[in-house]
Amino acid sequence: MTTDALTRSTPPAAGEAEPPPPRRRLWPGRNRDPRESFRVNWWLTALMCVLSLTVLIPLYFAIVTALKTPEELTGSGFGLPADPRWANFAEAWELTNFPRAALNSALITVGAVVLTLLTNSMVAYAISRNWHRRRFRILFFYFVSALFVPFPIIMLPVVKQTSLLFMDNQIGLIFLYTVYGLALNVFIYVGYLNSVPRELEEAAMTEGASIWTTFWRIIFPLLAPINATVGILTCLWAWNDFLLPLVVLSAPDAQTLPLVQYVFQGQFSTNYTLAFSSYLMALAPLVLVYLFAQRWVISGVMRGSVK
């Protein structure tokens, strides 16, 4: 099975249980795991490190800028601040009403992830186990074909619809993410479910378990790896999405973290340092989670792409 082969051949899964920092290893000659008994290509390592700077430099830049005073914003902007001004964060916190926006983002993201996992997996299960029925096959292609429908075509009608149904709020967004997620998630889940052997569930059903119980007790736990994949993708999407909350949310106090960054657009030239503190705070929650769960996140995303 491809997924198994993948996790086994993924280098990090091999023998590094401890968290990422490779700082402790001062002797490159020492082999930490058998896979690395090859001769390390140091030129390539150096090249890749230099390339990775393209990712890190904008972040470094954001951090130093967030800690400066407006007077220090001269030159290229890459210099360190003379005296880090932490008060920027406090002021940006106030200005954007950070707790409010963060709570909205968190509520929407958690709600969308939980509801997506519970419902989308179930739909995919029903489709996968009734693949021999035309109705279910048609349903599958019906959902998946939505992947090709660009958002702008439904954008204008959806906005009218959500405000009509009193769904122009956080709860409405949770529903929309769950429903729109079906297109991709059913595709991912069905691909995985088709490779899950049926003996277990058949055994359960001969012992009198209903389809319902079988799904929740046996299949859902078996889906754990692919649930992780779907959960990660949904989380990244809901947390970082801009266009859907922009058009759907109507009340200002329902705004999510990306939306509140608009505050700085009016007074942009004067408030760069505050704006950057705010940007960092908006990025921080997910980046921090990612730092700790990096390996898990990446292997989850990879699993979704090999079917």
Partner: protein, 287 residues
């Protein structure tokens, strides 16, 4: 054939209903309104194909299609070249592999809009500063304010952002290739480039196809990148199709007209994706 248990229907019917209500009905509504003169409120009447006819004479829309395709094609090519190169590098015999992989994926974790504001500053202040130091006329002013170059700034940012995800897809592909193949090839005296051409690339052709189609589709929908960088400017030089639909539909009162534009856009995207799939799949078979 056994009777399908009613439970299975209970599992899918609510999802089907919700999907129909929140996705299919809006699509149908969009198509319907595209034949009217609806402004988003008030009365409306049918106007036949007038909206569609007008689109073809609309310079702003034509420019947005030109910009979007120019942007999407260049970005797709760059992302795939870069991501493939980085993935091959990460898959090679290097140190710090896990940490580097983590760093390269980082942009995908961050909001495009928010990081876009950071890039906006880099393009408007830091780059001109460096440009002036190096004595370059073009780069001593903000390229975001330059009508001919602003779109390239968006390409740079979009590529920076999208490479993260593409690298992971390619890495997943590379790891399906058994290492024995390379060992055998090395014994036969095949160099690195030959190994890439003859083994790596053919074996990850499917991933190449997926990546090309996905990135092109995402780039054609570009919206989040443009808002923080240029907001469509200078003038309307970097207005994407999505941005024009959003602006005209919500702020300009052109609801029906812009839904017609969106329907056209939908047809173009489907046609383009199918065309691309056909070409890439044919190449895949030959390879």
């Amino acid at each position: 054939m056994t009777r399908t248990s009613r439970t299975f229907y209970w599992m899918v019917v609510p999802a089907f209903v919700l999907f129909f209500v929140f996705h299919t009905i809006p699509v149908l509504q969009g198509v319907f309104y595209s034949f009217t003169d609806y402004a988003g409120y008030g009365d409306w009447s049918f106007v036949g194909f007038d909206n569609y006819a007008n689109i073809f004479g609309d310079e702003r829309i034509r420019d947005s299609y030109l910009f979007t395709f120019q942007f999407a094609i260049l970005s797709t090519v760059l992302v795939n070249i870069l991501a493939l190169a980085i993935a091959v590098g990460l898959n090679a015999k290097i140190r710090f592999r896990t940490a580097l992989r983590g760093i390269f994926f980082l942009p995908n974790v961050m909001s495009i809009l928010v990081v876009g504001y950071i890039f906006n500053y880099l393009f408007s202040y830091s780059l001109p500063y460096l440009g002036a130091k190096l004595g370059s006329e073009t780069f001593s002013t903000s390229i975001l304010a330059n009508e001919d170059l602003a779109w390239l700034a968006i390409v740079v940012f979009a590529v920076w952002n999208a490479t993260a995800f593409a690298v992971i897809l390619y890495l997943a592909g590379l790891q399906t290739i058994p290492t024995e193949l390379y060992e055998a090839a090395a014994i036969d005296g095949a160099g690195a480039w030959r190994q890439f051409r003859r083994i790596t690339f053919p074996l990850i052709a499917a991933f190449f196809t997926i990546n090309m189609v996905l990135s092109l589709k995402n780039f054609l929908n570009v919206f989040d990148h443009i808002i923080p960088l240029t907001d469509g400017g200078p003038g309307t030089a970097t207005e994407s199709i999505s941005l024009v639909i959003y602006r005209g539909g919500f702020q300009g009162g052109d609801f029906a007209y812009q839904t017609a534009n969106a329907v056209l856009f939908f047809i173009v995207i489907v046609a383009f994706s199918l065309f691309q799939l056909r070409i890439l799949m044919r190449r895949e078979v030959r390879a």
